[in-house]
Subunit: 109 residues, 2 copies
DNA sequence: TCCATAGTTTTATAATTATGGAAATAAAAA
DNA sequence: TTTTTATTTCCATAATTATAAAACTATGGA
C-alpha cells in the first residue's frame, strides 16, 4: 500500500459522521445498508450524507450496488484490513507490542 | 473508546507527513527517535515538524520524553491497538471477513 | 559568560474540507 | 402519465487545518 492511499483512507475515516457510517457498515456485514437505512441512525441532510458516502467510496473503504431505487453501501473489508496492516507494518523492533487486532466477527444474527 | 477520540486519532494520522512520522516511530520501537532523527528522513522546516508531532501527541498516538536538549518521541502502541480494535469492533455479522491484523513485530536488530 | 544547538510557540496567510439548499436524475407506484 | 420516493450533483458559504517566518526557551559546551 502506498502512503497516499493510506492517507486517503484515514482522511475518509477522520470525521465523526463518516466514522459512524463506516462502523455501521462494518457491523452490517456483506449485505450492507441502503442510504436510507444508514441515515435512520444519523439524522443528517441527504446531500451531506451523500457527500460523506462518496468520500468513503472514493477512498475505497466502501462499495455500493444499485437495487431498484435503492443504493446499498457495504464495507470493503479487504481495504480495511490492508489499512490496518499498513499502520502496524514492521512494528516495534521485534519487541512484542500488543495483543492481536483481529477482525473478530460479532455475534451471528 | 469514544468516537470522539477515534476521530482525533484518525485525523492525526490522516496527513502524509504525520503518517510518515508515525510509521517511523512505530518501527523505531520503545526507544523512539529524537525530533532531529525524525527530521533527517523528512526534510521539513522545524516549526512544521513540531506542529505535526504535537498533533500526534495530542491525539495520544505518541508520547515524548526529554533527555538533555533532546526530546524523544515514541509510538504509543496501546493507543494504536485500541484504535484498530475500535475500527473492527463487532465486524461482519459473524461471517469471517479477513485474516488477522496482528501487530507483527519486525525483525529484531 | 557567551555561543551554538535542539526544539517550541506565536502568528498571519494559504489551502483544504464540510455544510445544506436548490435543482436534477432515476425508478417505482398510483 | 403523473406523482412519489430515493438519492445525487451543483454551488456558494462557512469552518477547519496547514505552512513557515520570526521570535522564544532551554540545555550544554567553549
Amino acid at each position: 500500500m502506498e502512503i497516499f492511499e493510506a492517507v486517503k483512507s484515514l482522511s475518509s475515516l477522520a470525521h465523526e459522521t463518516r466514522l459512524g457510517i463506516f462502523r455501521q457498515l462494518v457491523q452490517a456485514g456483506a449485505a450492507g445498508l441502503s442510504v436510507g437505512e444508514v441515515n435512520s441512525a444519523m439524522q443528517i441532510p441527504a446531500p451531506t450524507l451523500s457527500f460523506h458516502l462518496k468520500e468513503l467510496a472514493n477512498a475505497g473503504l466502501v462499495t455500493s450496488r444499485h437495487e431498484g431505487r435503492f443504493i446499498y453501501y457495504q464495507a470493503n473489508y479487504t481495504a480495511m484490513n490492508e489499512l490496518l496492516a499498513y499502520l502496524t507494518e514492521n512494528c516495534c523492533q521485534g519487541e512484542s507490542c500488543m495483543p492481536a487486532n483481529k477482525c473478530k466477527p460479532g455475534a451471528k444474527r
